[in-house]
Symmetry: none
Subunit: 413 residues, 2 copies
């Protein structure tokens, strides 16, 4: 059993086939959640599962799985997986590698004829990236998707309804994707690091200790639309200037934070003409911290700065909170299983927090959950993100042996 390994060629062949779906000229993929490209990737996965003679499962949140059932029908399920959707013009590794590694582990265990004390399921979660809602599939499965987020999704209501319709899903049925917590043995995820720390540390595997909390706001500054030629600078109420001030001041304020990050990803000025002072500026703001204290401090600092920018430029300000994810700790038992697997495989592992949200975060609310990172370059959410193939294979083998470790502990416990 200790010498069992995943099939690198089969894994790579599938990875490359999948990367062609929604591929971009820059070498990445464009598969926003429930877009035509994303649905094509999901069809490919479904057909792959059928061709391999495995059981396919789809739930009312659109999550797609391959299932390796255990003879005991009442046994719980160990989930492995990630997501096939991407950010707009994203990279090939983010999410997709985790789904295929999970699937490869499942095939390896099936082919080896290993009998596990739980059902094993390799799952592709819907809309992890948040083009529509964010962690839609994993939170629905965890029974933890507030109806308010479907009513006011961060990508807009129209986009959500359009996506659900395109995928043949019913909004009213989504809550039925929730699984009883005692039916879940745990969740394991493999993901690229999307940051420089593993390479800097010379490590093969990062064992994730926890995930940052993520909050987001839509800020709307409102002033007055004036003729940009006849209105002196001092007499304006320029909403665009208020928004720009907010970006610059927030960037300066972040010097007082170490583990926290923010982002202003989208901005819009109305009416948007060369010669009219913008009367409205809308700005999206996302903030992250690994601790609840950091989340609270960031939130109060940023809302104070937004109010100060509005006051300074005589603007009105509306702050709409767009949902918030609490910081999450990974299961110590699963971290231990990953450590044991790395040891067995002779790989150097380091513990580290995740700056990104992942499906693991949603599952950690209802069952033991944990994840590993493999080293990657080129940042993330862009076509340059890259992981060397041997690193991908290492990660999949760690996932495989962590499942076997987990099964031992499960049987023993």
């Amino acid at each position: 059993m200790n010498s069992l390994r995943i099939d690198s060629d089969r894994f790579q062949h599938d990875f490359e086939a999948l990367a062609r779906i929604g591929s971009t000229a820059q070498g990445g993929v464009h598969r926003p959640a429930l877009s035509e490209n994303h649905l094509a990737a999901r069809r490919w996965f479904r057909e792959r599962i059928a061709a391999d003679g495995l059981e396919f499962r789809q739930d009312p949140a659109g999550n797609h799985s391959a299932v390796l059932p255990c003879p005991h029908a009442q046994a719980p399920t160990l989930l492995l997986g990630s997501h096939l959707d991407s950010v707009p013009n994203g990279g090939r590794f983010d999410g997709a590698l985790g789904v295929l590694a999970a699937y490869e582990v499942l095939r390896t265990i099936r082919d080896a004829g290993i009998r596990l004390p739980f059902h094993l399921e390799a799952i592709d979660f819907t809309d992890e990236e948040g083009t529509l809602v964010g962690l839609l599939g994993s939170r629905a499965l965890a029974g933890n998707l507030p109806p308010s987020e479907l009513a006011h999704p961060r990508g807009g209501r129209a986009a959500l309804l359009e996506g659900l319709h395109r995928a043949g899903l019913q909004e009213s049925e989504i809550p039925r994707a929730a699984r009883p917590p005692d039916s879940l043995a745990g969740f394991l995820e493999l993901h690229i690091e999307q940051g420089p720390r593993l390479l800097e540390a010379g490590a093969d595997i990062g064992i994730v200790t926890g995930m940052v909390g993520i909050g987001s706001f839509l800020l709307t500054f409102t002033g007055r639309a004036d003729h940009a030629g006849t209105t002196p600078m001092h007499a304006r109420r320029d909403a665009g200037l208020g928004a720009a001030e907010m970006i610059v001041q927030s960037s300066l304020a972040m010097r007082s934070f170490s583990d926290e990050v923010i982002n202003f990803g989208h901005i819009h000025f109305s009416p948007g003409a060369f010669n009219i002072v913008p009367h409205r500026a809308q700005l999206t703001l996302e903030y992250r911290s690994p601790t609840q204290a950091g989340m609270d401090a960031l939130k109060s600092t940023l809302t104070e700065l937004a109010h100060a920018s509005a006051r300074k430029h005589k603007l009105e300000l509306e702050i709409d909170e767009q949902g918030c994810v609490q910081p999450t700790r990974c299961s110590p038992g699963i971290q231990q299983a990953f450590r044991q697997a790395c040891k067995r495989l002779g790989l150097k592992a380091v513990p580290l927090p995740s700056g990104a949200g992942h499906d693991t975060q949603a599952l950690a609310q209802v069952c033991p959950a944990g994840m590993i990172f493999i080293p990657s370059t080129g940042g993330s959410h862009n076509p340059e993100e890259f992981a060397a193939w041997p690193a991908c294979v290492n990660g999949a083998n760690v996932l495989l042996h962590a499942v076997l470790e987990f099964a031992n502990d499960f049987a023993g416990g």
Copy 2:
């Protein structure tokens, strides 16, 4: 002659009748150039001229005039006027007041039996606002409308052709609207200020010294799209932050300028997602100055600031110039005639530059041209723009007496 005044009631009655044509629920008017509403306003003007027993004239650019001929057929023409078109959902005063003041002055002079040494013509210029081309009628009359602007009009080629067709005009005939410069004695325009300076100065009349030059840029900052959770703040190349820094720094730099203004009217971040650091930020920048020295100083200050913002945030920068209009000086003789008229009427006049472009700018290329502003509130290019009626009457009386002054100088000169 010194006691001659325009007929306030007749002027107001016409102003209110005209304001009903294309009126909006917000209290403004919607009369984009050569739209049905605009053509209805022009028909009203033509019928008014006919009803008053005055001579009507239309030229191949669609300019409409009432003419009070002088006995000497070879005498040149003094033009008075403005425009009846509006921006979409504009106000009632911008342009329309100037046409009706011109027309009221012409009627007053006719009724008083005054003989002038030139033909007097109250003119409505086509498409001042630029829904189609911008200063179409006045530049055609001045023989200064480049064919390239008809070939690539800012409102689009289809809209231009549709508008000309609707008005019964032929594109190929437009150049025939050009008048020989020596047939033009001068041009006088009355307009609302569209800004707060006259009210702040407690003045009745603004005598325009010149019209600002207008330059515009499209600025493109390019950095790197990173994951907003996994990339530390210091490791980013955030194009949005560079653009925001440019807006804030430019606003601070404008404190060193007095008669100059700038505007950032439009902005776009790519890819535009909550959780991706923007790799590209595009920004439109318009700058205006009444002097060429001011234009040059602004241009160099702003381009330096853009480069500094790019350097500070490790971004690339592209600056595309989007066209430039040179500053125009108003005729000193006409400014003097306006000053004399204000003195005679006991009105407080202040000199000031115009921050907006006007038909006067086109006429100033070929004949002595000048304009006055009357105090207005509510900014401009919106339904709230407003001028108190006594201020409108003051303006029309200044226009009347400036014509009489100009006639004296003309006869004497």
